[in-house]
């Protein structure tokens, strides 16, 4: 590649993070440190029943005994778990019934982020939003309208109070407390998150969406999401996230559990844009998330779609346990890394039922000196007669100082299963760039077009409104360049 392109590509990625502001608001913050007392404090703040406190404490004891993982493709920075505050909430409230009761500072924060909490303004009724600010849910919109159909969409804290039987039945049923270090930590100290239940035969009438915002300093965010689609139900759910620019790293360790019963379908989309740190790798979010769904009933379907552009380190493997016969699991991912970002992401498809199918489409984009890995596991159990997997892993390199890696693991214990794997690595070609600039298109925009074209198959999976956002996000993430 010629020198000008080189320079341009070198500089790609320096666009400022536009969600980096902080909100000045009175906060209720727990003292730093992790102990049984911390867990008791959180549980008490949230007025939780005894069984849940016990559940948390059990998780904490596990966490204390566990070693930090060491199999990842990079050196994990040492995290001092005693130097983090595990609970932060805007003062005033906790429970809000109308918008008037929400702190105006907070409202304007979400407005700045482009998340209107005023129901009249919300995309004419297409999306219901649950907004989580640091540790607590601030406001869930459209609750009444959803209630008419029996759909429950509320903060996790409220679900514990109002639907304890559902929470008790499903919490930890897909991601056990002992699953991994960060799942154990989350189980001990999780603060809030979203809860969704779609009753039998109901097609949720609108997109459900949760918006996460880390604001407070030196806090971790540990939210917990639980989505249950009863027999024949359908729901499409989207989460988005941003954080202020801070020089210290902040930890985000969420757990998401999805349960699809017979004939049910859950579509879960993520647009992850946590603060990635500056161009020298200072600051940024450590995004260590455990996401897993179970296709419990026959003919059920779970589909994960993710667009990952943020975080200093991303480490997540949304998976599906295909237990029901003829159930379907899908994973569509675009992960973009630049500067010094690290992303290690992929999926786990566990085929247990007969004639189960899974599809994996992963598109990695690396720029700067970042490293982007796909790590996936496809496991076919002995009973998974006639199951199929199709995996496609593509990597796109921008410049020649970044890295792309693929680690596909396969464990097949049934001879009737079919597995297909395709992988490609490509570079943005000088000829492609020249073709577009020759037509009058700015080189930065040209890269944006090429990258969006490359990611199209995944972006097409997103709900319309968010696909447009995600496209812009991909283009912006590569902007700020051209010497």
């Amino acid at each position: 590649m010629s020198t000008k392109d080189d320079e341009m590509l070198k500089e790609l990625a320096l666009e400022e993070y536009k969600y980096g502001f902080t909100t000045d608001i009175e906060m209720d913050i727990a003292p730093k440190g992790l102990s049984e007392d911390t867990v008791r404090l959180i549980s008490a703040k949230k007025n939780e029943p005894e069984w849940l406190l016990e559940w948390r404490l059990k998780a904490l004891r596990h966490f204390m005994k566990m070693d930090m993982p060491a199999w990842q493709n990079f050196t994990l920075p040492e995290i001092d778990f005693q130097d983090i505050s595990y609970y932060a909430a805007p003062k005033a409230k906790p429970k809000l019934n109308s918008l008037d009761e929400v702190d105006p500072e907070l409202l304007s924060t979400f407005e700045k982020l482009g998340i209107p909490l005023d129901e009249q303004k919300v995309l004419a009724g297409v999306v219901a939003v649950d907004a989580v600010f640091d540790s607590v849910s601030v406001k869930t919109t459209f609750r009444e309208k959803l209630k008419e159909q029996g759909v429950i969409f509320c903060s996790f804290g409220e679900a514990v109070q109002e639907h304890p039987e559902l929470v008790k039945q499903y919490l930890g049923s897909v991601v056990p407390q002992t699953d991994n270090v960060y799942a154990a930590l989350n189980s001990a100290v999780f603060s809030d998150g979203s809860f969704v239940y779609i009753p039998k035969g109901v097609r949720c009438p609108m997109e459900l969406s949760t918006y996460f915002r880390i604001n407070a300093e030196n806090t971790g965010q540990f939210e917990r999401t639980l989505i249950i689609a009863d027999e024949g139900a359908y729901v499409s759910y989207l989460e988005g996230c941003t954080a202020p620019m801070r020089d210290e790293n902040q930890l985000h360790a969420a757990v998401v559990e999805l349960i699809a019963l017979k004939d049910a379908e859950i579509k879960y989309s993520t647009v992850q844009n946590w603060y990635p740190g500056d161009k020298d790798g200072k600051g940024g979010i450590y995004n260590f998330v455990t996401k897993r769904g179970i296709c419990k009933g026959d003919n059920s379907k779970i589909s994960w779609t993710q667009v990952e552009t943020g975080s200093a380190i991303t480490w997540k493997y949304p998976g599906v346990i295909l237990k029901g016969d003829h159930s379907v699991g899908e994973f569509y991912s675009v992960a973009l890394t630049r500067n010094k970002q690290l992303a290690d992401t992929g999926t786990k498809m566990i085929h247990l039922g007969k004639h189960t199918r899974s599809k994996i489409v992963s598109k990695g984009i690396s720029a700067g000196t970042s490293h982007n890995s796909y790590r996936g596991l496809v496991k076919i159990g002995p009973g998974a007669e006639g199951s199929r997997n199709f995996t496609q892993c593509d990597s796109l390199l921008i410049g020649d100082r970044c890295g792309a890696h693929t680690f596909p693991y396969i464990e097949n214990r049934n001879r009737t299963a079919t597995l297909e794997h395709e992988a490609t690595t490509s570079k943005i070609g000088e000829d492609q760039l020249f073709y577009l600039t020759q037509r009058g298109i700015d080189p930065e925009k040209a890269v944006g077009l090429i990258v969006n074209g490359y990611a199209k198959e995944v972006l097409n999976q997103l709900p319309m409104e968010f696909a447009v956002e995600a496209q812009k996000l991909l283009a912006i993430s590569l902007e700020g360049s051209v010497g």
């Binding site: 000829d431 074209g453 490359y454 199209k456």
Partner: protein, 254 residues
């Protein structure tokens, strides 16, 4: 409109263009012919500003403006259009979206707002008809999976959409079937006006029967060694390039 004086250009430090002179006036069509490897595509790429081609001497003026100073995108916005000999595929990028972006950028450069969606679509339809370009192709990803001929026709469709001042067609006729050749030529003839100009690079006399050139030049070893009218193309078709190579050789020997 276009003035090229003593242009020298190198690729990977090997000199390809060796003192090329050419004057193209508004309203004219110039054909450039010449043996393989003589530097025809190099000329197109140099005019369009491709980075890997280094201009070592000479000047190129477009309506008095120094073209060589401009970036490729600014040259395009000034009205230089290159129909590529080998158009690339850009997977997943919709043809229409790409054209909309290109057109908006060119308009913005001229201080014009982007076209309204309705007007843009009207224009797409009009131009599709003008160059008989299949609407299905217009809606597909940019050149992805297009046949060789379809790619060439897409170049002409883009040309029609972007309405450049100076269009350079690099062997747009090669790979086209007879009907397509006629359609492309009639498209170009429709687009011809007193305000724009065409440089048509071709190996075949046949194209020049449809797009009648005002001048025909022979490029050989990086220089224009013969210029004439359309009869020169006929003569070349008949005799090949040997007689030119011989005479050039003789001249150089002097």
């Amino acid at each position: 409109m276009l003035t090229i004086n003593n242009l020298h250009a190198a690729v990977e430090s090997q000199e390809i263009l060796k003192g090329l002179n050419l004057e193209v006036k508004a309203g004219e069509v110039h054909a450039i012919m010449g043996p393989n490897g003589s530097g025809k595509s190099t000329l197109g790429n140099v005019l369009a500003g491709r980075e890997s081609y280094e201009v070592t001497a000479g000047e190129v003026l477009l309506d008095g403006k120094d073209l060589l100073e401009l970036s490729p995108e600014d040259r395009a916005r000034e009205g230089v259009f290159l129909a590529f000999q080998y158009p690339v595929e850009i997977p997943g990028v919709s043809n229409i979206n790409f054209l909309k972006t290109a057109l908006s950028e060119i308009r913005a450069y001229k201080g014009l707002p982007p076209l309204e969606a309705r007007d843009f679509l009207k224009m797409v339809k009009e131009k599709q008809q003008l160059v008989e370009f299949d609407a299905k192709l217009a809606n597909r990803s940019l050149n992805e999976g297009f046949s060789g001929g379809e790619k060439k026709r897409n170049e002409i469709f883009q040309l029609a959409m972007l309405e450049p001042k100076l269009a350079i067609l690099d062997e747009t006729d090669s790979g086209l079937d007879i009907d397509a050749l006629r359609i492309v030529a009639s498209g170009v003839n429709h687009l011809r006006s007193k305000d724009n100009a065409f440089i048509v690079i071709t190996h075949y006399q046949r194209l020049l029967e449809y797009i009648v050139p005002d001048f025909v030049h022979v490029l050989y070893k990086g220089r224009i060694v013969r210029s004439g009218t359309k009869e020169l193309a006929l003569e070349l078709e008949e005799k090949g390039y040997d007689w030119i190579k011989e005479t050039v050789g003789a001249e150089n020997a002097v």
